[in-house]
């Protein structure tokens, strides 16, 4: 097995220094710099893949897997569900993956990963297994396999890249699409229900917690050090682990490519997507909100919500979304003073 230091020079490619607003680390002390700031970065996904400009999923996957590579000394294998990440990284005969990687189907990444960890156990190897999928592959079609993987407490880290719809097939609704959002299958037409209907929601981090697995976390690509810390933490633990990463999709959401990080930050600052960690079914850490932002600020830059600002029922939908934020803020005590997270 190759350690990172032994990786070929091509794999240690360039720094991704883009100044302080994106992933810059120069102003941060050494200990808090991201994996990307190190020359020894493992570069799990090479550049040159075919993701859209500003793709949050590409960013999230690169940080998550580079961190996991570092945490495991490169001794890991990834299973991938069908979806944007799979398609934009592997147009045959090219591949962006610098580690052993496998795609089988849309709905089976957790089960494929379960099989991988069983093989490793049987062979007495310590190679670690990661599975990844979009929100559709995770909360919808792969849900049964994921729950089975959790229930058996298989030694797999599952990472869901949540861009709130089926992006790879042209932006259709998934079980993670928020109420009111326009998608290709929830058009903002008709009187009563503009955009996606409000159900009771499908909160997969909560469902994961209900399986009492050792570790569940939520993360957002606006807080990359936080994402890295969570992946690192997850890789210290054995058993079933789940990280739900919020990854804006400029194409599907109808926002500018440079809005990715901003939206990923606003969704947290509004309280719409609380960042927390849970162990064995209990929340152990949350990230407080620094400056609370009303939900409109998050919704406004996105065309998928534009219709909500035009009608009365749309305004009611916005109020509903705000109420969900308020609920989260109260439930997770997100406005408290003290910082509880390490980074």
């Amino acid at each position: 097995m190759k350690q990172i230091d032994e990786l070929s020079p091509e794999q240690k490619v360039k720094f991704y220094q883009k100044g302080t607003f994106t992933v810059g680390n120069r102003l941060v002390d050494q200990a808090n710099r991201t994996v990307q700031a190190s020359m020894a970065r493992s570069n799990a996904i090479t550049s040159g893949h075919r993701a859209c400009q500003g793709c949050g999923e590409a960013l999230g996957a690169r940080y998550a897997l580079d961190t996991a590579m570092r945490a495991t000394g490169g001794n890991m294998i990834a299973a991938n569900a069908t979806g944007c990440l799979e398609v934009f990284t592997t147009p045959y005969p090219e591949t962006s993956w610098q580690m052993p990687w496998m795609h089988s189907l849309f709905g089976n990444a957790p089960a494929v990963a379960s099989g991988m960890q069983a093989a490793m156990k049987a062979k007495g190897r310590d190679t670690r297994i990661i599975a990844q999928g979009g929100d559709g592959g995770t909360v919808d079609i792969g849900f049964g396999c994921l729950s089975g993987m959790f229930e058996r407490n298989d030694d797999v880290l599952y990472i869901c890249y949540d861009n709130e719809a089926y992006m790879n097939t042209g932006v259709q609704r998934s079980g993670a699409t928020p109420g009111g959002a326009r998608t290709a299958t929830t058009m903002p037409v008709g009187e009563q229900y503009p955009g996606n209907v409000f159900g009771t929601g499908k909160n997969l981090p909560r469902i994961a917690m209900a399986h009492n697995i050792p570790y569940v976390a939520t993360a957002s690509v606006a807080y990359l050090q936080d994402l890295e810390a969570k992946v690192e933490r997850a890789m210290q633990i054995h058993g079933a682990r789940y990280i739900h990463v919020y990854v804006p999709c400029p194409l599907g959401w109808g926002c500018a490519s440079h809005e990715t990080i901003n939206l990923a930050r606003l969704v947290v600052e509004t309280g719409f997507f609380p960042l927390f960690e849970a162990e064995h079914g209990r929340v152990v850490r949350t990230r407080p909100i620094r400056s609370r932002v009303p939900i409109e600020e998050y919704l406004r830059p996105q065309r998928r919500f534009a219709h909500l600002f035009k009608t009365e029922s749309g305004k009611a939908a916005i109020a509903k979304l705000q109420a969900m934020c308020d609920h989260n803020i109260a439930e997770f005590d997100l406005l408290r003073e003290e910082e509880e997270t390490g980074r």
Partner: protein, 424 residues
Amino acid sequence: MLKQLEGSHAVAEAIALCRPEVICAYPISPQTHIVEHCGELVREGKMGRCEYMNVESEFAALSACIGSSACGARTYTATASQGLLYMAEAVYNASGLGLPIVMTIANRAIGAPINIWNDHTDSMSMRDAGWIQLFAETNQEALDLHIQAFKIAERLSQPVMVCMDGFILTHAYERVDMPTQEQVDQFLPPLQPRQVLDPSNPYSIGAMVGPEAFTEVRYLAHDKQMQALDVIPEIAAEFRDIFGRDSGGLIREYRTKGAETIVVTLGSVAGTIKDTVDEMRDAGEKIGVVTIGSFRPFPGAALRAALQGAKRVVVVEKSFALGFGGVVANNIMMSMQGTGIHVHTVVAGLGGRPITIPSLHRLFATAVRDELEDVHFLDLRWDIVKAEIARQRAQIASGPVAESILRNIQSDTAGQSASQGVRA
């Protein structure tokens, strides 16, 4: 060593001798006893470090097999019927990825109407999925074929299904000759995977392939099946050298010398057919039997050679392509094109309907007299079918067909329960 064992247990013990590293289990009749006994053997420590996974569905079972096989572990699972259909997407995927997984199919009908008894509809539905499909005639052969299956799968890097008739074989206690561990170890070396997920030499498996290469990829998968036409007999010969008995291979001929009528079949019904043919041969009838051991790849050339002297071929099969005809017979017709030999389709034994010697006698006698129609349904109750068709024409409202049929069957015994809930 000779043992008196249930077919399922014989298979599970054969699997244990093959030293699998991962077994995925999900129950469905009539496959359940196989995975149950595998679990027992793993628990008893008779399978070394083998990981036994209880999964939440057949789809997950084969998906987990895909993951473990891609990591270079010798991998096994078993299913039947609805379970095989439920894993269909992964069935195609496993072969497309070239993973040497071995899976038992305890053949069973597919609903609706739900029916747990034996026929071959399930594995026939996967005939084009790129798996090698072997059919067992007896429990001894089922046991032997599993040992060969791992070797075939691993030599070709392609998955193999071993099909054995549900209940008829899986639940029957028969005497089997269980090989020793030394024999199996000598025959079956440890898996040397052709492609493996390994951090020291990273590969991407399962990339997206566009129109510029997809046809070539599919052709290469077909070519592997064609290679199997050589590999299967080779491995059957290697098996004979070590275990001292004939088992497996592409086809088997029985009393075909000088036969004018040749019955072609597959699976356990071959035994009943051979008995019937024996009686007819003794009575001077020129009749023989060919059993298909490998349905995929289809042994077209071997069949052509075996059938070329015949005047007529009668295919007895437990599968039926609705709206078309016999699945196996159609494959044989393709292979016999240009020979002028007439191929009859006989659909028999669907959903566990017994195939009896008297019925076969009548059938073959009709065939010999050249009075058999092209597509024949053995022991079909025409009275019931015709009555039901007439009823459907006369009425618009209708319950499920099966319920009306049951009502018709039971009308003479005054049974009422089956007809309840049916709008007459």
